[in-house]
């Protein structure tokens, strides 16, 4: 059974000649990962609506409309695997990903066995890409390789920082990224002073800051999630714990983070996975900005990089189908494996293991300057120069 069903019952008489391509999958719309799950889902919805509003897509001379059949996995791997199986039984051929490696991995095992492609923007743990799966593709580079572009950036700073300490929390993403950061930083000649391991959700870092004040590195790298990053920088500002460079993988890219910290957010560095000002061309939305405008016109939910990545998953699927001139899962899988296209999210290319190319899809480096995030690396995409060393907390304006 194929995902391409006769259309009239689904898309009405006006589109009687078109067939339907169905994208299935699970997403956490409730439960502990719901916030990001909703962001990813909003991206999927925006892309499907945009394509259908334009009359669908042509693949191999046949017109197709898109259909999205996602269900709420409630952040529960058992529920996710059960309902993914239902979609496979119903003949869904193309899958989008959930959020969280503990859900992506068990569901990917099912789609892989059924030889149905899965393109996902919700799982970055190394475990997903070391199972030998051929049909699973991820937008993000695996966690251990997400620090490569950051190290390249640190090498360009003048005067060159020499020492660093790492703060990370005890979850798969944060830990793996911290391990990768330490390995890559030491290989580049930077000296590790300390590594601070914290629980998954932190409420107080004063003991870490005491240690940092006693033994201050040039750089503090936090491979932490948004709320944990905010707590760390708040307490650093409150206790006047100054370092020349504070780098946080997630947090400062959010407007809410910058508003909460006010002037103290200035000079903090952050990884930028996506920026709507970037000059990317896109086959569906025209550009990154075109996507942002379209999205805001149909969804009041604030735009996040996961939303853009979600939409780009569908764009990449469509381009692979057009390249393959087929909607057969195996042919689309082959086209995905050799994908090298520019999308609203950037240039998309997968490694042979299926994760995102660490250079092309790895993060850019941003810095908060005057309350906004400016890109400072790579140089060709930079919108401002790095402020280094960062002013002391009391001198920030």
């Amino acid at each position: 059974m194929t995902a391409i069903a006769a259309a009239p019952a689904i898309i009405g008489t006006a589109r009687a000649q078109a067939r339907t391509i169905t994208f299935g999958g699970s997403i956490p719309l409730s439960g502990r990962a719901a916030e990001t799950g909703l962001n990813v889902h909003a991206g999927y919805l925006a892309a499907v609506k945009a394509v259908n509003d334009k009359g669908g897509i042509e693949v191999g001379g046949q017109k197709y409309m898109l259909d999205l059949k996602m269900f709420d996995d409630a952040s529960d791997p058992t529920r996710a695997t059960t309902l993914i199986q239902q979609q496979i039984d119903q003949g869904v051929d193309f899958f989008l990903g959930s959020f969280g490696s503990n859900i992506v991995l068990p569901t990917a095992a099912i789609t892989e066995r059924a030889r149905k492609p899965m393109v996902q923007a919700g799982g970055g743990s190394d475990q997903i890409f070391t199972q030998g799966y051929r049909y699973v593709f991820g937008f993000f580079p695996r966690a251990s390789q997400q620090f490569i572009s950051s190290v390249e950036y640190f090498k360009t700073i003048e005067p060159r920082p020499r020492t660093f300490s790492v703060i990370f929390t005890n979850d798969a993403f944060s830990r793996t990224q911290a391990d990768g950061a330490i390995k890559d930083m030491e290989a580049a000649g930077f000296q590790l002073m300390d590594r601070y391991q914290l629980p998954e959700t932190i409420t107080d870092v004063s003991s870490v800051l005491n240690s940092l004040r006693a033994k201050t590195p040039d750089m503090v790298i936090c491979t932490t999630h948004d709320q944990n990053s905010l707590l760390i920088s708040r307490q650093m500002a409150a206790t006047d714990t100054h370092v020349k460079l504070l780098y946080q993988t997630l947090g400062p890219q959010l407007q809410s983070y910058r508003e909460a910290l006010g002037r103290f957010a200035n000079s903090i560095m952050v990884q930028i996975y996506w920026d709507e000002r970037a000059n990317y061309k896109d086959a569906v939305f025209g550009s990154a900005k075109g996507f942002a405008d379209t999205y805001r016109s149909i969804n009041p939910r604030p735009l996040a990089y996961h939303t853009a990545a979600g939409a780009a998953c569908i764009v990449v699927y469509l381009q692979a189908m057009q390249k393959a001139r087929s909607v057969a899962p195996a042919a689309v899988r082959e086209a995905l494996a050799t994908t090298d296209v520019e999308t609203l999210y950037g240039r998309v290319k997968f490694t042979k293991d299926g994760d995102g190319d660490p250079i092309l899809l790895g993060p850019r480096i941003g810095q908060v300057q005057k309350g906004a995030v400016e890109i400072v690396f790579p140089t060709e995409a930079a919108s401002a120069k790095t402020v280094y060393p960062a002013p002391k907390w009391s001198e920030r304006s």
Binding site: L29, S30, R32, M70, F71, D72, A74, D76, P77, T78, R79, T81, T82, L83, Q85, Q86, I88, D89, Q90, S101, N102, L105, P106, A109, R113, S125, Q127, N170, D171, A172, R175, T176, P199, E200
Partner: protein
């Protein structure tokens, strides 16, 4: 005696039906069946303590986690051949859960009612945090388990039969237990523990034994569950909803009855995964309303309602 024979025949018929089911249904329905059998097994294991002895644990997910981590760590450290590792992990998962229950039994079983429930909830939370934050357990990064399913059989069918064997085994054990000396002792404890002790029931010994048995069975299921996922983190197995569902399934079907936990699990799995599986926005709301409604309208569970109907019908039959 006639009723007992009918019950055995009915249970046998249901078991036979469940055993042949995978041959006739779609893989999705096999997975729903697998989820039902997992839920039923857990509810039955919980019910040995909560239903028979009246000690409601709100933290039985602790034993699911212990079983899963035992199996996972056994694989990581010993790298046994997959099937041997599965068998050893499952067995050891139950044993380690039992040993842990034996260690904490003395302090926690001195508590009763809501205090016992909260103590177990606390134990499960502590274990979840430890597994997440102590590097040796690897709960933060997650544990990978090997694919143990033979090529000739589909994974969902393999684990369906694993959970069927466990659920059927625990059901048979529960049936035996209820009619044993221990079972009568537990019923006495449930109704009035002080009076039971006064009448010579060795309440402490019975409670510890039941607690350990319940933990062992839950841990065994936890180990198999870990293998069915293939990869799990602390969050996959130390889940409050596991603990709550065990109680809810038993409550909906009928606390203190043999088949109650099985019927409750079947009902809730069907409703949440089949009826409401597609309702993205409202499935949790509808499930909540349904559960609250059932508990309000049928506080003694579905089997309790059935029993009341039968009693009323018999009264009306009398001349």
């Amino acid at each position: 005696m006639k009723g007992r024979t009918a019950a055995i025949l009915a249970a046998g018929a249901v078991l036979a039906l469940l055993a042949v089911l995978p041959a006739f249904v779609m893989p999705y329905h096999v997975r729903v069946g697998q989820l039902f059998l997992l839920s039923a097994g857990l509810a039955l294991a919980w019910h040995i303590l909560g239903g028979f002895a009246g000690y409601w644990s709100f933290g039985h997910t602790a034993f699911v986690g212990i079983g899963a981590f035992t199996a996972g760590l056994l694989h990581v450290h010993l790298k046994l051949p997959p099937m041997l590792g599965f068998a050893a992990g499952t067995l050891l998962g139950g044993c380690v859960s039992a040993a842990f229950a034996a260690v904490i039994a003395y302090p926690v079983l001195r508590l009763r009612g809501i205090y016992f429930a909260i103590a177990l909830l606390g134990v499960s939370q502590v274990l979840g945090e430890l597994s997440q934050n102590v590097d040796a357990f690897q709960g933060a990064l997650g544990l990978n388990l090997p694919d143990i399913v033979p090529d000739a059989i589909r994974p969902e069918v393999f684990f369906y039969y694993c959970f069927l064997a466990l659920a059927a085994g625990i059901f048979a054990f529960s049936a035996w237990l209820r009619g044993s000396r221990l079972g009568y002792g537990l019923a006495a404890i449930r109704e009035d523990e002080d009076t039971a002790r006064m009448l010579g029931v060795p309440t402490e010994r019975f409670k510890v034994l039941t607690f350990v048995l319940s933990a062992a069975l839950t841990g065994t299921i936890g180990a198999v569950y870990a293998y069915s996922l293939g990869y799990f983190t602390s969050g996959s197995v130390f889940r409050v909803d596991f603990s709550l569902n065990m109680i809810l399934h038993a409550l909906l079907g009928g606390i203190g009855t043999l088949a109650g936990p099985v019927i409750g699990a079947a009902l809730l799995v069907f409703v949440t995964n089949v009826l409401l599986g597609r309702l993205l926005d409202v499935h949790l709301l509808v499930t909540g309303v349904l559960v609250v409604g059932l508990v309000l309208l049928a506080p003694s569970g579905l089997l309790g309602v059935l029993r009341d109907w039968r009693a009323r019908w018999r009264r009306n039959e009398r001349p």
